[in-house]
Amino acid sequence: MGPQSTTAPVRSPGSTAPADPRRPGRKPAPRWAGALRGALGAIVVLGLWEVAGRTVFAGLYLIGTPSGIVTKIAENTETYLRGLLFTTTDAALGYLFGNAAAVILAVLVVLVPGLERLVLRIALVVYCLPLVALGPLLRLLYGSSNGPQITLAAIAVFYLTLVPLVVGLRALPGTWLDLTASYGRGRWTTLVTVRFRAALPYLMAGLQVSVPAAFLGALVGEFTGAERGLGVLSILALRSLDTDGLWALMILSTLVSLLGYGLVSWIARRITPERPDVLLSPSGPPARSAGWTRWARGVGGALVSIAVVLGGWILLFAALDLNPYFAKRPDDVWDWLIASPDAAAHRTEIFRAVGETLAVAIPGYAAGLLLGLGLATAFSLSNRVRRTLTPIAVALRCVPIIAVAPLLVAALGRGPFGTAVVVAILTFFPTLVSCLQGLRQLPGQVTDVFATYSTPPLRVLLLGRIPAMAPAFFSAARIAAPSAILAATVAEWLATGTGLGDLMAVDAATSRYTSLWSTVVIVTVVSLIAYAIVEVVEQRVLRVVAPEQTRR
């Protein structure tokens, strides 16, 4: 199996062949022609949209028309812009805190490898906590500040950055490590001089993906009794059948997310080195220790993590002196699910909801992954496709799912299909970004070899780029698993009124706090299991195509 068994992603400056899919030699069309084509296309799309909105969809209040949206924005410019400013500020603060936490944790993990599993597991648990349930609880904690918005934004982003960053900090040739070691330098020097460089593209990918996620977190936070912001405005627009207003708000927040995304992408292009280097690392024996010791270590690690999470739960609540009326402790949950005489009924209720949610989350997740992978592949093969679809893909992800979920569900029918589409939209994008970045990880020297033999692009893709992309794809697939459940619960909460999302919302609305906390625990465990399943598949595949990721 060619180069892929010994290569894996890493970039280094100074190589020569073009890694970027942009092909030289083709004379570009004049600028104005492209611009004209784009403008004409936009006019046609807007015209069709306007006509559809005024005819087929008239009176349904599902689709705003361009003219109506523009009018709304003109009428409410000041209100909308202020709302945008509040939400953007909260999202930006959350983005900052969340990503700072990700970097700190990633550095910690690399400096003290012994902590890695534990830290990542606990970080994962925090990421898996359902936003729907967290919102009202954070509001109880913070009062009427913008704390919930910022915290939810931070939680929504930190894991998206942490995972690729940890991958990136490891994505470097063993020889580099040997080099710093032979100079007698420690982990810190290695980190600063070698690992940070290698991790930069991965970090930037995480930072890109987390821009829209921060926005989503801030919006969910605004649903918990905020005074201002886009979330507040969209609740009102939704309930007053102000379809044009709702679309105007969605488009404005999409634009802001796009701007943020564009800014981070621009920075990423500036500071990341162009060319990945060959990563030589031995495949090594498949397992160094006997199966059962690894298994025992895994179970032990999981137990330690559980103990830490439960301990943290109890201590944090005690330290904050939270009222046991709403802040249930692990033993309340244990009672509810296991010990009490009604436990079986409680379990039935929760597991029925789990079933409903998984029935939409799994197909949506699969569709999202395939879509992300497919788009990334198409982008890498054709520049035209990439240029045309990139803004659409980014816009889709940047559209605030909170506003769009009810519309999608209303438009696509109240069945599982609508929710599955929401899930797919929320999961495809991180996969796309990650895969695109992964596809570019084909080392220059390997590209040169392909070029020497004038290998057709499709073959390069199959034999070179896709294997080189594997670590990036799997890190995206892992993160996407909890995201899919998050997306499904948000859609259920806001639109369909089924599954776990609805159960948590109803529990919160009717003060069934023990049930709420038990559901939170179950949702978190289900997310963790989903993550673990993807991880097992990942380890199998990466052992072949990217052994440095599994090296331990």
Binding site: A101, L140, L141, G225, Y325, A495, D502
Partner: protein, 345 residues
Amino acid sequence: MSTGRLTRRRLLGAVGLSAGAAGLGGLSACSRDAGGSQGITDVTYQLSWTHSVQFGGTYLAEDAGFFGDQGLSVTLAAGGPNVAGDTNTVSGQSLINISGGDGVARSNAEGADLVIVGAQYQRAANTILSLGDAPIQSPEDLVGTQVGVAGPNVPALDAFLDINGIAKDDVEYVPSQYDPATLTAGQVDSLFCFYNDLPVALRVQGVEAYSMLLADFGYNPMSQVYTVLRESLEDEETRDAILRLIRGDAQGWQLYQRDPGAAADLVVDLYPDAGLDLETQREQAEVQLDIMYSEATEESGFGWFTDEQVQESLELFELLGIEGATEQMWDRSILEEIYADGPTA
């Protein structure tokens, strides 16, 4: 007691902001802020939904200085789709909150000890909204149709059908939230919602619709109730603050009754960031007069409730499957004190 706790929580929140946002725990610092230095008591009043003319009288009270006259500095906390109002009162975040009678009973069934001390609505606002060309005008019209209903309202719809002798199997419940587009897009025949909310929105948008108040067909739980902790009533100072708050609030609602339009203008002015539409607010301000004022309020004062209403509520709770509620959940003594000299606060 509860006011002191309130400030501590807020302070804690501020500390938690930095630590919590970084994803790390370790919040410990907290201090007690002595509220009410110059005889002014700081209180938080938790509303049941986002700011709108639904709380018009309260804004008028604040604007006219009625709360100030009572020696209160009132923070009005917005509600929303993801806000647990009762819990805010239980946890001490707010001194008082606006809730639903059945919601309070549910909270108490879960271990809270909340007491209803007044009711802003004389008739419950729950309504079944349908489009004008296929109106649902009586419970019988529901047979064989699809009703969009949000999870928390399912027991209410169950009880309503039960009261009107309609088998649950004859009506199809479609799980949904309060999105009026599901109705206009024809996905449901009717929507379980609130009298002064979606029906007004539809009217302002020019959509012909029919709104059937459940209260006209035997389902009339107390709604928009003033809810406080029992321990707040037992503490003399806190009880006094509650009394002054409700007195100021009722004065505001008396103003409102005379000029609801002024409340609409005020709320649009006060909350420019809520995106409120003046026309809709005016319409809503008019509409809710219906359910907030009645002969009973003329006779006994705004927010009044009777022993019959209490009994009716208790019977309803049984239908709703809420256990453990008794007359102890209501306390009229505050209203009685406010209206000791007649129906004017």
